[in-house]
Amino acid sequence: MPTFPRRTLLIGAAAALAAPVLFRPARAQGLAPTPTMRGGANNYRPGAPIVERIGGGGFLMTGSVRRAGDGAPLAGRRIQVWAHTTEGHERDARSHGATLTDAEGRFALDMPQIVPAFGQPHGHLAYDSDYDDGGFRTVFLRPIMGSPGDRTLDVAFVLEPA
């Protein structure tokens, strides 16, 4: 059984929310690829359509997609986003949508406000190689918002060539 320090009690929920995403460097040199997070693929519905925005919008999911090693921005990569929002549960098809990165490897997708569900206000993002011909490994992320009231979340993908 994993051990949890008692001070967890004192720090409370704030610490869980503020817990930084841990990136383990898999390479001695260069930019390390982003590992898939635990639970990242939960309630994933493969192949959501590329949309201008999900539902009515109001929350901005942004991010970057770069290549591991040299950190080169990757354009035209498909990123799928889903979350429990004011307009639906994670499992609902209407909660899913995808977008493409621009020339600088940036993406931005307007979506309904994410609300806390299953204990944390969090989003899900996927780079799924099955829906992309670029030859990079699939990555599922589950970033946590710093505060339930946040209106935006920025997520970095560093993809590993397949």
Binding site: A13, A16, G39, N42, G119
Partner: protein, 195 residues
């Protein structure tokens, strides 16, 4: 007592988050809050610290109710998001509170199971074992609840958790549940208490 359990329930039942949750998810969450409330009452019933109630009888019924609440909690969450619950039950969840909840769940099932076969157990075994499992239940549940960002209000959640911890420790310490263990190993030097 009514306020200590009722207020957190009322706050959770009127949380703005409920607007964006389906009925199954709402029931699952409230079952969890109610289960936390049961933990406050159970030790008092077990040793007749509540006036006007046949404590032991109520304790057994409420213990069965607690098991039901846990089952409703987990089943409702499972229906709402199966992979998240599978992650929790297999201790592979990204959320640390999940493991605390699952540990508390199994400890509660264990404590209830012991109670169900109590007549076949030695009293010297039952009370320390039941109490030890309850301490796991209480610790696990409190950490589980405090780490969750959900429908419970921060103030009423902390207040209820602190009360549950205080009452549990007060009753366990007052009943000296570990004494039979010491007695068996011959280290107890305290006189036998009347039950």
């Amino acid at each position: 007592m009514l306020a200590a359990v009722g207020l957190p329930l009322a706050v959770a039942a009127t949380s703005p988050l409920l607007e964006w949750r389906g009925p199954v998810y709402i029931i699952a969450g409230l079952a969890g809050v109610a289960a936390l409330g049961v933990l406050l009452v159970q030790p008092l019933l077990a040793f007749d610290r509540l006036p006007g109630l046949r404590g032991r009888v109520a304790h057994r019924w409420l213990g069965a109710g607690l098991v039901m609440l846990i089952l409703v909690h987990v089943a409702g969450l499972w229906i709402t998001s199966p992979p998240d619950v599978i992650d929790a039950l297999t201790f592979t969840s990204p959320t640390p509170f999940s493991a605390w909840g699952v540990i508390a769940m199994w400890a509660a099932f264990g404590a209830a199971g012991l109670a169900a076969v109590r007549r076949r157990l030695s009293p010297r075994f039952f009370r320390p074992a039941h109490t030890a499992l309850i301490l796991v239940v209480v610790t696990g549940t409190i950490v589980h609840a405090l780490l969750i960002v959900g429908t419970m209000g921060v103030v009423t959640k902390w207040a209820l958790c602190l009360l549950v911890a205080a009452v549990t420790l007060w009753v366990v310490a007052g009943r000296r549940a570990w004494v039979p263990l010491l007695r068996r190993s011959g280290r107890a030097d305290t006189p036998r208490r009347q039950d």
